[in-house]
Symmetry: C2
């Protein structure tokens, strides 16, 4: 049976700088998750041995990379982060929840 | 190197009822694609041997299932279609482009 939901529904970050992660689907080594963040400043670095596709659904954010570059993202903006691409969330909107869809590929 | 884009950018359907498909990423047997549709009425049936996750990003649409049920989707609404779940796009907004993100899982 199909399942339905809306990305705007789900746990909200409880404190500035917090992020919540909700797994929506896990199949064949791939994982789809909803992320909600608020007022992130210089989040933790990630470096995964798998590719990731991330879509900013609502709000605003900035990703930072190991070479010092940053990329601002608004609604509809996506990023393909290849395996081994060191990245972090540098900033998200302090005044509103920022919602992301992340797809972790096998 | 990371790649970036926006789901609102891309090929537009050229005629009422048309859909365009753009592959954004293909890795490990999973595929992420952008779909743009306009004024679809009773689209083709799909029945895939893999699970699909689909997100409506902009516009409005309705999915139909083999048991006769339909599900209306607006921005932020997602559907998880398990492997073998027969479905089709029954309707999309006649007055605006409807943008989807589809993730085909391994």
């Amino acid at each position: 049976m199909p399942r339905f939901g809306n990305l705007r529904d789900g746990p909200a970050p409880q404190a500035p700088g917090a992020e919540t992660f909700t797994e929506l689907l896990h199949a064949g080594g791939a994982r789809v998750e909803r992320i909600a963040s608020r007022a992130v400043r210089d989040g933790a670095w990630y470096e995964q041995p798998w590719p990731e596709f991330v879509l900013l659904v609502a709000g605003a954010g900035r990703l930072a990379f190991a070479d010092g570059t940053e990329q601002a993202l608004g609604p509809g903006d996506w990023a393909h982060l290849p395996a081994g691409c060191r990245h972090r969330v540098a900033w998200t909107d302090p005044g509103a929840e920022t919602i992301w869809l992340a797809v972790h590929l096998p």
